[in-house]
């Protein structure tokens, strides 16, 4: 029930924030912030009664009772569709990330949104609810439902409150994700039909569908459907073209949610569904997937380097960083997977912060063009210092979360394929190049006369507090990543066990 409550609180909170607009103009954002914090607090209180997740035995992937939480109720029994939610270490990490970044996004919308505030905060809360659903549902139909439904509020956020080219960006975003969603729907139904053919019962439950026996060719095609859907969302090369537009045109809070959380649903889907459901097909495909990942790392970095739009640069850097996640997942060993999970969390914070800085700049300068910015540090030293911090975090400075993540991925990947590792590692260098370029162009250099007597306001207490939270998170992840690794470890181990090639496993026993 806890998991249902988490989602319902957000849904009801959305309605409340629409209604609260009648009380006062500034009420919706307060209500929304309150709702997210209550949700977070509620989760933490419920967790405190549980055994320490790091001490838990490895959950058995196909045994729901070994998970942290599990809930199941009938929904459409005619097709074996149920409301099945479950939480394990990885889902928990993602849920926490979602709620924390949700609060940060609301803070980012504090002064950014000037019209129809109630409806905006409602959309924000509803998309958070959808994302929570994605991270927790283990019925494939329910998962698909959340997967699709979380896009509608996001669509509205871009289409109504976005920047100059919002219509195009919102449309492109929606069509890309919906079209790939349809592929996933067909794949889900095909998988269920195969299972129905084998067992004679309809079931969409993850636990029933693991270990579905099917022909190699069938498994390959179905797996591909899942893969494309998730990689579009990730986004991986060559399905990333919606991302720069959507991120650039979205309002700041929208960008924070998109980059911080929505992209992670793709990675989560790969770890949770695309590989475990089709272990052999995924293994056969892993080589191609890793090349796509490496291509994404390099391609994203090169394109980021060529951008003049502050937000677009960050958007392309996301493509590059998410390439590491793809690499980590398809290397499919514990180190690399740990790195991928770490990257999901760390990238969530660093990119969210950069998008907030971009949003603050746009709010003050009314432009995102870096050619117009220069020497802003002199006028806004606090913002400059904060930007510096997140830029070096994003380029992978040791001591901060992103470094741990990328290092782990490369370490794990090295055991699998040296050449891909070499190519991916160049991403660290190019990352440094575009990140520093961003810094130089906007904050360093001569003061642009245009802004000299503009009276630019530096970051205030609210912004510093928000940034501070993310800074502390990244430093903690960088110097003491153990809690995150511990939370993910049992889950990853059980997944690795589950997908271990049975032939290989029995060979080991023989020895």
């Amino acid at each position: 029930m806890v998991m249902i409550n988490l989602i319902v609180i957000l849904l009801v909170g959305g309605l409340l924030s629409i209604l609260s607009e009648r009380i006062s103009d500034t009420m919706p954002r307060k209500v929304a912030m309150g709702v997210v914090l209550v949700d977070l607090l509620y989760l933490l209180v419920c967790l405190s009664g549980m055994p320490d997740i790091t001490q838990l035995q490895a959950p058995v992937a196909n045994d729901p009772s070994s998970w942290l939480m599990h809930f199941k109720a009938d929904w459409i029994p005619a097709f074996g569709i149920s409301i099945e939610l479950a939480l394990d270490g990885i889902s928990l990490l993602m849920v926490l990330l979602t709620l924390i970044l949700g609060a940060i996004a609301i803070s980012a919308s504090w002064t950014d949104i000037v019209v129809r505030k109630g409806f905006f905060e409602a959309n924000l809360l509803w998309s958070l609810a959808g994302v929570l659903g994605v991270f927790m549902s283990l019925d494939l139909m329910l998962f698909f439902l959340f997967w699709e439904v979380m896009l509608i509020p996001m669509y509205f956020m871009i289409a109504i409150w976005g920047h100059e080219n919002r219509g195009y960006a919102a449309m492109k975003f929606f069509i890309f994700t919906q079209a790939s969603g349809l592929l996933m729907l067909v794949s889900i139904l095909a998988l269920v039909a195969v299972n129905h053919g084998a067992t004679g019962t309809w079931s969409f439950s993850y636990f029933d569908l693991l270990n579905t026996e099917m022909a190699e060719q069938t498994a390959h095609w179905i797996m591909l459907g899942f893969f494309i859907a998730f990689v579009v969302k990730l986004p991986g090369f060559p399905f990333h073209t919606w991302l720069p537009d959507a991120h650039t045109q979205a309002p700041t809070a929208g960008s924070v949610i998109l980059a911080g959380i929505l992209l992670k649903t793709g990675a989560y889907g790969l770890i949770r569904f695309a590989v475990p459901l089709f272990p052999e097909a995924a293994l056969n495909f892993s080589y191609s997937a890793m090349w796509l990942g490496a291509a994404g790392v390099v391609y994203g970095a090169v394109l980021a380097f060529g951008q003049t739009d502050f937000k677009r640069l960050i958007a392309y850097s996301s493509v590059s960083h998410m390439g590491f996640v793809l690499l980590g997942i398809y290397a499919w060993n514990e180190l690399a997977l740990q790195g991928a999970v770490m990257q999901m969390v760390a990238h969530g914070f660093s990119t969210a912060a950069l998008f907030m800085i971009a949003g603050s700049l746009q709010e003050r300068l009314h432009t995102r063009d870096m050619r117009e910015m220069s020497g802003l540090w002199h006028q806004m030293p606090r913002m400059g210092a904060v930007a510096m911090f997140f830029v070096v975090a994003s380029l992978g400075l040791p001591g901060l979360g992103n470094f741990v993540a990328e290092f782990l991925v490369l370490l794990g990947l090295f055991q699998v394929n040296v050449w891909i590792t070499v190519i991916a590692a160049t991403g660290l260098i190019t990352g440094a190049a575009y990140s520093l370029l961003l810094m130089q162009r906007s904050f360093q250099g001569e003061v642009n006369k245009k802004w000299a007597d503009y009276g630019l306001a530096d970051f205030g207490p609210r912004e510093m507090l928000t940034m501070g939270v993310m800074m502390i998170a990244l430093i903690l992840l960088g110097i003491y990543p153990q809690p995150v690794l511990d939370a993910a470890k049992p889950v990853l181990q059980s997944l690795l066990e589950l997908t271990a090639n049975p032939a290989l496993a029995s060979a080991e026993v023989m020895q």
Binding site: D74, W75, I76, P77, A78, F79, V115, R116, F144, L145, E148, V149, I152, Y155, F156, A159, I160, G167, A170, M171, F174, I175, Q178, A179, L182, L183, L185, V186, L189, A190, A193
Partner: protein, 473 residues
């Protein structure tokens, strides 16, 4: 004929009675409001009649088959007709002219649709289709002024006449081959007749298919659809899109299932071609439409393409699942389409300029209820989860996968992906911040929009009861 047969025919009898009362009323005292009330009472009574007839299901003569399935669809089209009636009131009243005949035509057309749904014989099929069609020509052309309605009516008339001619010729060929006109008889004798004379059966059923294809407006028989949709008064368009097409599809599936037409692989191939063409052509041509009624016309072409997949799957899966899917899909489609036309009718009315998508700009902020209803309808047509349209698509895809119809599924995925664009355009326009003005909705129309929106959402988020009910029909 015995007494229980009359009970089974209750819906048809009540509708006929309503038509007679309307005629008498018109000859005694011409009063539009009175005609409206008589029609409404007649429709509600027919709905009760359909409920009452459930205990008397049987074949009524060789022509009609009254069973739970046909009674369900009878009720469904009665509901759709009631919606049409509510919308018609405003559309036809302010002109202050004598418009009672419209209601008579509406009743006759509904009567035709009910006959069509219950038909189990080619004669009743043709009778129902003609009765429904002839009344519809007049309804389309009913606004005397204006070129578009007349143009639409003439197009519909000429093409429908061609379609009927083809249908008749097809019947003749099938009769020549099998010596049967009832679906069951064709089903029984078809296989042996096919061995003797394959060409006759093939040519005959292909012509029947073409004739019905015109009415359903599946590609390549879709040319009339956008003009008629645009030209007809909006309530009539809604009626045409739901009652007329729904009834024809029910008749087609009954003919197909009872007549055992799925055993002819040539016919199946033809259906596959029609389905793929409809999905692609419908969705493709909808992309550039500016008028929302034209957009909905192309969207309906695509939707009947999706629906044909279910019929094609009949060869591979059992008929129960097929009729369950048809029930669900048609219900979802009709409710969604009605919701869309309700909003279009209340917001835009008969003003062609206001039917442009750009005229819907800012609707969210001025008339949130109507905008929400239209948004939900668009999302349902696009097949987004939590709406009825999604569950409908779920059925189609499930059947397609079970039957291994991968080509059709590919067309469905491509078509649906394209479709998202034009459905979103409408939603995007509504979310813009511009001033918009339109005729104000009366309370009944607002209630209607609310109820239809709620049914789409309930059917999509809690479909279990209805799935179980549809499975038991």
């Amino acid at each position: 004929m015995n007494a229980t047969m009359f009970s089974a025919l209750a819906p048809i009898l009540i509708l006929s009675l309503t038509a007679i009362v309307l005629m008498i009323q018109a000859s005694i005292k011409r009063d539009q409001s009175l005609a409206w009330v008589i029609t409404a009472v007649g429709f509600v009574l027919t709905l009760c009649g359909a409920y009452y007839a459930r205990d008397f299901t049987q074949s009524v003569t060789i022509l009609l088959q009254v069973d739970h399935w046909s009674l369900f669809f009878t009720s469904l089209i009665m509901i759709a007709s009631l919606v049409t009636l509510v919308l018609s009131r405003d559309t036809f009243s302010p002109e202050g002219e004598r418009k009672e005949e419209y209601y008579l035509l509406l009743v006759l057309s509904v009567l035709g649709a009910v006959v069509l749904i219950q038909s189990s014989h080619m004669v009743s099929l043709l009778l129902g289709m003609e009765l429904m069609g002839v009344a519809l020509y007049a309804m389309i052309a009913f606004p005397e002024r204006g070129q578009l309605p007349l143009e639409g009516a003439i197009k519909y008339l000429v093409l429908s006449a061609c379609a009927s001619a083809m249908l008749l010729y097809g019947f003749a060929l099938i009769y020549a081959a099998t010596g049967e006109l009832s679906y069951a008889g064709i089903g029984a004798k078809g296989a042996s007749a096919y061995i003797e004379n394959p060409m006759l059966i093939m040519a005959g059923s292909a012509m029947v298919l073409a004739g019905i294809g015109f009415k359903l407006s599946v590609a390549p028989f879709h040319m009339w659809t956008p003009d008629v949709y645009q030209g007809a008064p909006t309530p009539v368009t809604g009626f045409l899109a739901t009652v007329s097409k729904g009834a024809v599809f029910v008749a087609l599936s009954r003919f197909y299932i009872d007549g055992g037409l799925d055993q002819y692989s040539g016919l199946n191939t033809a259906l596959v071609v029609l389905a793929i063409a409809s999905m692609l052509v419908g969705n493709w041509l909808a992309l550039r439409q500016e008028n929302i009624k034209r957009l909905l016309a192309y969207s309906s072409i695509a939707h009947f393409g999706y629906l044909l997949v279910v019929l094609i799957a009949l060869t591979y899966v059992d008929a129960g699942l097929v009729s369950q899917s048809i029930t669900f899909y048609l219900t979802a489609y009709m409710i969604t389409t009605l919701a869309a036309f309700t909003v279009v009718s209340t917001v835009a009315g008969e003003d062609t300029a206001k039917q442009d998508i750009s005229a819907f700009e800012g609707l969210f902020w001025h008339r949130p209820l109507e905008a929400s209803a239209l948004t939900v309808a668009m999302l349902s047509l696009a097949g987004i989860p939590l709406t009825a349209g999604f569950m409908a698509k779920f059925f189609v895809i499930t059947l397609g996968i079970q039957s291994g119809l991968w080509g059709l599924l590919a067309a469905l995925v491509v078509g649906s992906a394209v479709a998202i664009y034009y459905y979103l355009r409408v939603i995007f326009a509504m979310s813009k911040s511009t001033k918009s003005t339109g005729k104000s909705a009366n309370r009944l129309e607002k209630l209607l929009a609310l109820v239809l929106m709620a049914s789409i959402l309930v059917l999509g988020s809690w479909p279990q009861p209805f799935i179980a009910y549809a499975g038991g029909l």
